[in-house]
């Protein structure tokens, strides 16, 4: 009996040990994501290219034969961007692609300065990579099929003639089903086989470690114990699944599945970058882990208590968004009548499993859609309209901005920033720099600060264009003129130019080695003078490369991951609606500009950017030009001359008032006041006064709030931009209503006649009035035109008020309403050129209102006493001077006060 307890107790201790150990770090574990195991898959044999069981033949496994027993491999391999890699767009007309030496839009044929090596065109005098070498070079990113199987002419590579490569011996790379659908593929062994040129063995190598096959590049042996008597493989060795995040990670990089994030503290573009492409080019880390728990040396790490990517943290898989396009669970017909919410006519699961489309849904970006034909934007799952009530002009924002613009505020890891292939460091690598690393702290390991993505206009599949976040990678490189046209200098030629017997060539040292220590430091590796350029170009010329010169390019890399929840998104209006708006903030692309060459945008990522790239103090900057893209960002954008002219008029008016007022005071002191009889007349009815003061206050508020919207920086204490906009809009609508009512009143009551200048003798009268303002008023003379309730306005007033009330005010109201209605009826605003024209116009008229306001307030002091007119507009009763010389005013409707 005792023994039982001892066993029990030891068991308990053991269990406790197991439980106890992992709990020490329990809070920081990132849990492996559900691998979506498909337990339903039947057992199967592995077949070779001849359809024989590999255990009998000992030959490499053929996925086409093995998986093709049930799945339509022909369909799958021809419906896969992963497989195609540009083969289908190969050989288009010149000018179709990003560079003159490009041959397609994909990895097979498009040159990228980050990876530098390139597939040479047929017939090139200097060949960098041919197809076989291309496969070996880019092994980490080639899944098989496409150009790894077929030539550009559509022949199987084994049937095409090649002097340089024996395709029959190497075989071709069949599309590798195992890599994405097995739970434990061996990507390293696969890459090793490809790099060794053992193409047909690559898929077999993927199975190393499963127990099915043993060996390495030189020799693979199938393990008889892993096969049943009927030839099927042992079920427990292989788990077939929907591609899990781990599967995608193998090539795309940093889809975080382990406990600690990959060390992304530097963004070096070395060999590893091929399998870490996403992180290197954009800094995106697709992980559920809280950033504050990462292993990186991050600035303000404690405050970053959000996960790297909210979607992963919420349990989503890569394939939840990047789903197969004909997967019946996701499929949506392009044509959907209004009366249908869901169209149940779709593939049966069995049909889908036979022919699953291996093109996957991607972002709405036109560039992504070119590859895969369908989109899966945020709006497929999210109804943003329901959750953005708080956002003024929500529709307008969503038309101009992608969701990601605000929901990817920062990337909290480094990313490639610039690459200078015009020089080579002693390792044969280009000079490079990273976004998001504090340069000052580089010596102590580098504090990662992260960076804000730059916003670029992106074209979507539906033709719309809005701003979306990107990372910009700027590169410079040498280009020479070959017989066949421009080509980038091959890496081997570049190395030959820079190095001689393992050291820098003497000519290079002579030109660049400023401190003459026979080696080139980071500071010396920079072609900032024509002499230095000439030295390198001279070396290239001796290699036979003609007219070598420096070219540069800016590659935008789309950032769609690392999305944050609303809590962390950009919500502060001033981050865009301010002087240093996020939208147009100059972005420093590089702290050097080799050869002074301003690089050009490569718009292959759906961008339509071609904005301001400029050099300032030897550094390269990019800035978005809002007017180029029909954007008018309130609080940031303004038309300078409108403000200048408006301001000048305003200042002039102020000046005139001071001079005029000063003179009046002066003359009032000098002149003796003749005793005048005063009479009290009811000048303004209740409604007159009501509409006047409502107008007055509304316009005052509008000018003030409008100015705040226009120049928020001057009111930095006032942070509630959206509230100011709300007040402005509300009062604007009230003013419009009041104006409409008062017009109605004026017309119906006939009062409108007061405002309409009588053409007959108008100019004479106006001149008389102007003379009075400029002369008579200082002499204590009476007003030339008697003010009576029936005729309150002098000719100048009539004209001014008529213009203000019946021209300026309607214009301002109409432009204001058009800006307000730009969401519902953008076409109305578009007739007038959109916001970019309406807003400055509204702004100009606002200046005129401001001028009118102060002039009006001043001239109201020209009554019998300075305050008479004010009192009259308040009480309705006005004291009038009785001018004997012009006779008693006719007694009309206005009652005379007792």
């Amino acid at each position: 009996m005792k023994r039982k307890w001892i066993i029990f107790f030891s068991l308990m201790v053991f269990i406790a040990g197991i439980v106890f150990f992992p709990t020490v770090h329990a809070r920081s574990t990132v849990i492996a994501l559900d691998p979506q195991v498909t337990e339903i898959h039947p057992q199967f044999p592995l077949l070779d290219a001849q359809g024989k069981n590999v255990i009998d033949s000992g030959q490499p496994v053929s996925t086409y034969q093995t998986c093709g027993t049930c799945h339509d491999m022909e369909f799958i391999s021809t419906h896969s961007a992963h497989s195609d890699l540009g083969l289908s767009t190969f050989g288009g007309a010149k000018g179709t692609y990003a560079h003159p030496w490009d041959q397609s839009n994909g990895l097979y044929g498009q040159w990228n300065p980050i990876t530098y090596r390139y597939l040479s065109m047929d017939g090139d005098e200097r060949i960098d990579l041919d197809t076989a070498e291309w496969i070996r070079e880019f092994a980490g990113r080639i899944v098989g099929g496409g150009p790894a199987e077929y030539s550009t002419t559509g022949q199987r590579l084994t049937e095409s003639d090649s002097e340089d490569w024996n395709w029959n011996e190497s075989g071709v790379v069949e599309m590798n089903c195992f890599l994405c659908h097995f739970s434990n593929p061996n990507n390293d062994a696969r890459i090793e086989s490809l790099q060794a040129g053992e193409f047909q063995w690559a898929n077999t190598a993927t199975l190393v470690g499963t127990g099915l096959v043993e060996g390495s590049v030189d020799q693979f042996t199938w393990n008889p114990k892993a096969f049943l008597e009927n030839g099927d493989i042992l079920a427990e060795l292989i788990t077939i699944q929907n591609p899990s995040n781990e599967n995608c990670t193998q090539c795309h990089g940093d889809v975080q599945t382990s406990q600690l994030p990959t060390d992304l503290s530097d963004c070096s573009l070395d060999e590893k970058s091929q399998s870490n492409w996403l992180a290197v080019t954009t800094g995106q880390v697709i992980s559920a882990q809280e950033i504050s728990e990462s292993e990186m040396n991050l600035a303000e790490k404690d405050t970053l208590t959000r996960p790297y990517d909210i979607h992963i943290a919420r349990g989503l898989q890569c394939t939840d968004c990047h789903y197969s396009l004909n997967n019946p669970a996701y499929y949506q017909s392009d044509v959907k009548p209004d009366y249908l919410k869901y169209d149940p006519r779709r593939l049966e699961i069995s049909e889908y499993l036979t022919k699953p489309d291996h093109n996957f849904a991607n972002s709405r970006s036109a560039a992504d859609a070119v590859v895969s034909g369908a989109t899966n934007g945020c709006e497929n799952c999210h109804d943003a309209r329901n959750t953005h009530d708080w956002l003024p002009f929500a529709e307008q924002h969503m038309e101009s901005l992608s969701c990601e613009s605000c929901h990817i505020p920062t990337i909290v890891s480094p990313a490639a920033q610039s690459l200078d292939w015009t020089v080579l460091n002693s390792d044969g690598q280009p000079a490079a720099s990273c976004w998001g690393v504090d340069e000052a702290s580089e010596a102590t390991g580098g504090v990662v600060t992260g960076f804000s993505p730059v916003l670029l206009p992106r074209e979507n599949t539906d033709g719309s264009v809005y701003l979306a976040p990107y990372n910009l990678v700027t590169s410079w490189y040498w280009v020479y003129e070959s017989e066949q046209g421009l080509r980038p200098v091959r890496q081997e030629d570049l190395e030959a130019a820079w190095f001689k017997d393992g050291d820098y060539a003497p000519e290079i040292l002579a030109a660049l080695d400023a401190d003459a220590n026979k080696t080139l430091s980071e500071q010396e590796l920079y072609l900032d003078t024509p002499e230095k350029q000439a030295a390198v170009a001279g070396r290239l010329a001796t290699l036979g490369l003609k007219n070598s010169h420096i070219e540069g390019e800016i590659q935008p890399y789309a950032i769609n991951h690392n999305v944050v929840s609303g809590k962390w998104a950009i919500k502060d209006c001033s981050s865009c609606h301010s002087e240093d708006s996020r939208v147009t903030q100059p972005k420093k692309l590089a702290s050097f500009v080799p050869g002074g060459v301003i690089p050009e945008f490569i718009n292959t990522s759906g961008t339509v950017a071609n904005d301001l790239v400029y050099i300032e103090n030897g550094e390269l900057f990019y800035r978005l030009d809002t007017t180029e893209h029909d954007l008018y960002v309130f609080g940031h954008d303004r038309v300078l001359w409108v403000d200048r002219i408006g301001g000048l008029i305003f200042i002039a008016a102020m000046g005139a008032i001071f001079v005029h007022g000063g003179l009046r005071i002066y003359s009032a002191r000098k002149n003796t006041h003749p005793q005048v009889t005063m009479t009290r007349v009811q000048m303004y009815g209740v409604y007159d006064r009501f509409w006047h003061w409502l107008h007055a206050l509304a316009i005052l508020f509008l000018v003030f709030t409008g100015f705040m919207i226009h120049r928020p920086a001057l009111f930095s204490a006032f942070k509630y931009y959206s509230v100011v906009i709300l007040i402005h809009n509300t009062i604007g609508i009230l003013l419009a209503l009041n104006a409409a009512l008062s017009v109605f009143y004026h017309v119906v009551s006939g009062e409108i006649r007061q405002y309409v200048p009588r053409p007959y003798g108008f100019f004479d009268s106006a001149i008389v009035q102007m003379k009075y303002y400029l002369n008579g008023i200082f002499r204590g003379m009476g007003h030339p035109f008697e003010k009576t309730p029936r005729k309150r306005l002098n000719p100048v007033q009539q004209l001014t008020y008529f213009l203000v009330l019946y021209a300026l005010l309607p214009l301002q109201i109409i432009t204001g309403l058009m800006m307000l209605s730009v969401l519902q009826w953008p076409q109305i605003a578009d007739w007038f050129g959109g916001l970019t024209y309406l807003a400055p116009f509204h702004n100009m008229v606002a200046w005129l209102f401001a001028v009118f306001l102060i002039v009006h307030i001043y001239l109201a002091t020209t009554g019998a006493t300075p305050l008479t007119a004010y009192q009259a507009m308040i009480s309705g009763w006005e004291d009038l001077e009785v001018h004997q010389d012009e006779g008693q005013p006719e007694e009309q409707n206005g009652e005379i006060s007792p």
Binding site: A16, T23, V24, A26, R27, L33, D34, A313, W693
Partner: protein, 482 residues
Amino acid sequence: MKKKFPTWIIGLVTIMAILIVPIVIFLPRAHERDNPYAYITPTVKHKPHEELITKTFQSPQDVTLSCLSCHPDAASDVMMTSHWTWQSEPVQIAGQDEPVTIGKINQINGYCIGISGNEKKCSSCHIGYEWEQIESNGAYDFTNAENVDCLACHADPNLYSKGVNGNPADDIDLVAAAKSVAMPTRENCGECHFYGGGGNNVKHGDLDKSLVNPSEELDVHMGGQDFLCTTCHQTVDHQILGRSLANNYLIDDEEVVQCTDCHGEAPHEDKRINAHLVSISCQTCHIPEMAVEYPTMMVWDWSTAGQDLPEDHASYSKAKGSFVFEKNVIPSYNWFNGDNEYRYLLGDKIDPNQPTYILKPDGEIEDPMSKIYPFKISHSMQPYDTTYQYLLQPITAGKDGYWTNFDWDNAFRLAEEMTGLIYSGNFDFAETITYSPTTHMVQPKENALQCLDCHTENGRLDWEALGYPGDPIEWGGRTIEK
């Protein structure tokens, strides 16, 4: 002409109203959130007694009488509580002929097993004096108000502590202790509740001495907001809210302290998280781990006691047997409706080949009142009578008990008289399991569990064991008939 009230003011007010009222109407309103602090009754400040206590005390009972001279109802109030009676009200339980009371006084547990006969030591956590009566009279007089120990909960714990038989320790200055009385602090309550099972954090896992001076990280209420125990366990006339599962079968809702007392029914901004509350208790996500500062006992094996092995209070003691302690323990998760499905009562038959539940919470997926709660599950090997097939309670600390002679047989024989349970002379050890809810040491919201802590393969929740077909994020949650 002159009016008393100038009309222009009316005009101005009207015009301003026309402008301002629509703005106010359209202004975005901040989402008003329930303020949890509104539900907290502030702790009354106790009048300093330094100057009120003027006489010297001959005995601790003198202190009590002195208290009662101004607080006449205090003793009678406190004597109605289980802090004094050490047992619940009688409840009718299936399988029992008569209603039974459950409590320390008459039942056993999986830790120190039982009190009967061991009162000399165990009474250090009873709020009464003079437990030596048991030896002289055979029973304790629960009606004598003089023996209520006011100082245990109200004196400064640095100036007062209890020794044997519920009496103050020998060196206590009763006057100084009496002068220090105040509202019970965390330390007062902790004197007993942190040390349940005979040591710091042995029993609960979520109550230990780190709560005397906790950080916000450890306990967001006590650390961040300086809550006392009584902030949540609100007390009126010495009736303390909150009930221990261990001493009850059924617990009235009114007796329960719940998060929702202050935090409302839908406290999260995210609707999806609020939707969890139908099936998940607050504690499940907000107490990601227990025993964060000090390890808690997970296994107690009495069967190895009595050997002359190296002793170390964390793993073996001759008196008590072997232990397994763990730190940062991830709780176990079970359906729980607030009541017990089973509470072992003295004399209940066991099957020694199966673990016996000392305490098993009630709940299942079909029960709409049940939610998934975190629990500490501790395992014990404790003695049972192989002939009668029930758990035995030994005399341990009592006179001539196991801790004196290390003779199990004698310890069970001595206990026969105390417990009234016949001992056949044959014993062995059987496994017992005790659940205790993990409900204290709520951590800051940043530490709360995230989606993937559960909604992933090998996550915290074993969905199938809980009765789901699979992860409800994919398979859907339970449907509850309303």
